[in-house]
Symmetry: C2
Subunit: 353 residues, 2 copies
DNA sequence: TTGAAAGCGCTAACAG
DNA sequence: CTGTTAGCGCTTTCAA
């Protein structure tokens, strides 16, 4: 109503002018800083509301030489785990006034090659540039696929909290993937399976704990580990991997998939081939997504507590913001095998066709 | 290496000093503005890289009096539709240098009452405050549940692009919900169902087109519309609604759910009760989520092209940023009914027990 | 209790 | 082609 210029948002100066005090007072009043009389404060707040004044946090950060925003590096929200992590992060950050700024990687999952190989940095490494330029104080990274060493390098520019993956020397909150994967494998082993295959995603350092644990468990059982790499982590990638695996000779009686999406892809193909799950093929996923628990799906999976990881990551980020020099946290939680109907002892009719 | 202060990020001044030119030149060089000799530019860029200089976009925005960030108001990423919309938005924005800043509503879905009823603003209306304080130039809103009038009010403070919902006078990209809902209902009608129930979510203006279309379709068929409101939009909410509906008298032979999650919740309960889908109960969802298409689920659903909506919203946002005074866009797309195995003619054994 | 002044990192006329 | 100067909106000494 009493606005001077219609389009320009009100500033502290406007408020100060309206009340008849200096900008300093307005600034103080807004931050609840001491040194402003109750009366003046009230008048200021009232005028501010009347003028529709909104503090400009960017300007404040600039003046204060601090970074209050947190960056979030998340690639594929369509994978439930990441959505859960995201929900957790948001939950942890909600009570505070920290903005969340999204960062992205260069390319995504699945189809397509690595594109052109420009200069030095190849494929889809993290590009934290935009986040840094936005001056976030810390970035929570849930989908970094760069090698550990590279992550540490990135962390030189901006503090990083790694979620669902451990990176030595960098704040990390994760779940014990080796334990989870081993549990799934041993579950199948205990059921009597001997021809077990593992479907993993594309190779990325720090993302192969599940595969290694599978290898180890098989090795301990004196069985040959069979591993096939899917071209991604999606259901479609799982289907692609499964087509070769299930149609080929020596079909496995059980499959341990790197995640639920991949497992669901395998399931689709298996069912399409007329195979019954679990009678002809036992199947385990990883993530314990909601879909896994649906009637008619009943996918045995490993719950890694994604939401809790997100919350923990959010808190770690807050902590890092408050104590830039605190030692890196290393929070490891234990996953939980959730047995459902997709796993059973191997059928007798395991010979070809 | 040649950094002055180890922790403080390099600034244009640092670069200027290093090269022996003025700050202005550095600024110009970085924006590719004319008026800098090739030689100088190269020297500047080289020094910048050496010093690890990163432009501070916040400071730039401040000086330029513009807002280059886009806000994203997204509540529940765990619902695939929103994840898809998000993916689309990101895709549209990726090639540009626009940061995406997340905004949140006050509370979320499902359980729990409306909390205390403070002052004037109740439940979980949008709180665009943080986004405004972050000085975003436009906010893309996919989960606003406020009344249209309120949205228009909000849009006075910051341009809004409404996704998946039409708000007169505000940029809107959405799918024709009435058409989709009617298609689903008529599909069931055509199969011969007469006892059809609709499961809707909590009431919010501008989110009831599906319900109204259901009512209308039933009315046109001369049948009584039966509607039950779930306490949210989640699978759990669907289960809750279904328990009453399926156990009670006059059990419907078909259910039209507001979305897939709700439908899946109904499915769980139905199956748990020993009802067969579709023999005893036909079921339609809405969103055509990936889960709907899985073998063993086969949920008939309505595809609203969430990803495309996201892309369109992103472009609309970009456009709004570029042309603040352009007339509001109103982009309506047509949904597509995807028939799967969850719908069939009503069985004969539709009497009680 | 209040205000003046300097500065955060950057842009944008306007002069040399 | 290059540098000077004045802000952007806000915080923060330091005096009054």
């Amino acid at each position: 109503m009493t606005t001077a210029d219609p389009r320009r948002p009100a500033t502290q100066s406007d408020v100060a002018r309206a009340v008849g005090v200096s900008r300093t007072l307005v600034s103080f009043a807004f931050r609840g800083a001491p040194g402003v009389s109750e009366e003046t404060r009230r008048a200021i707040l009232e005028a501010a509301k009347r003028l529709g004044y909104r503090p400009n946090v960017a300007a404040a950060d600039l003046a204060r030489k601090r970074a209050s925003a947190v960056g979030l590096h998340l690639l594929d929200l369509r994978n439930e785990v990441y959505a859960d992590i995201f929900a957790g992060v948001r939950e942890a950050l909600a009570p505070t006034a920290h903005r969340i700024i999204l960062g992205v990687a260069r390319s995504s999952d699945g189809v397509g090659g690595r594109g052109g190989e420009h200069g030095g940095t190849g494929g889809d490494e993290a590009d934290l540039g935009p986040l840094i330029e936005a001056r976030v104080g810390v970035v929570i990274a849930a989908t970094l696929i760069d090698p550990d060493e590279r992550v540490r390098e990135l962390a030189l520019d901006v503090p990083i909290v790694s979620v669902a993956r451990r990176v030595e020397g960098v704040d990390s909150v994760y779940s014990d993937d080796a334990a989870g994967s081993r549990a799934a494998t041993e579950h199948l082993l205990a059921l009597g399976h001997t021809r077990i295959a593992h479907i993993t995603g594309p190779y990325h350092e720090g993302m192969h704990a599940r595969r290694r644990a599978f290898d180890a468990a098989m090795h301990d059982a004196g069985l040959p580990p069979r591993v096939v790499a899917a071209p991604g982590h999606s259901l479609a990638a799982g289907e692609e991997a499964a087509r070769a695996l299930l149609a080929g000779p020596e079909r496995p009686t059980a499959v341990v998939a790197h995640n639920d999406q991949l497992a669901l892809g395998v399931r689709e193909v298996a069912l399409g081939l007329g195979l019954r799950v679990p009678e002809d093929l036992s199947l385990t996923g990883y993530d314990d997504s909601r879909t896994a628990g649906l009637a008619g799906i009943g996918l045995t999976s490993v719950d890694l507590g994604a939401h809790a990881l997100g919350v923990a990551a959010g808190m770690a980020a807050l902590n890092r913001l408050a104590y830039p020099n605190a030692p890196a946290v290393d929070e490891c939680s234990l996953p939980r095998l959730v047995v459902r109907g997709s796993t059973a002892p191997p059928g007798r009719s395991s010979s070809d066709s």
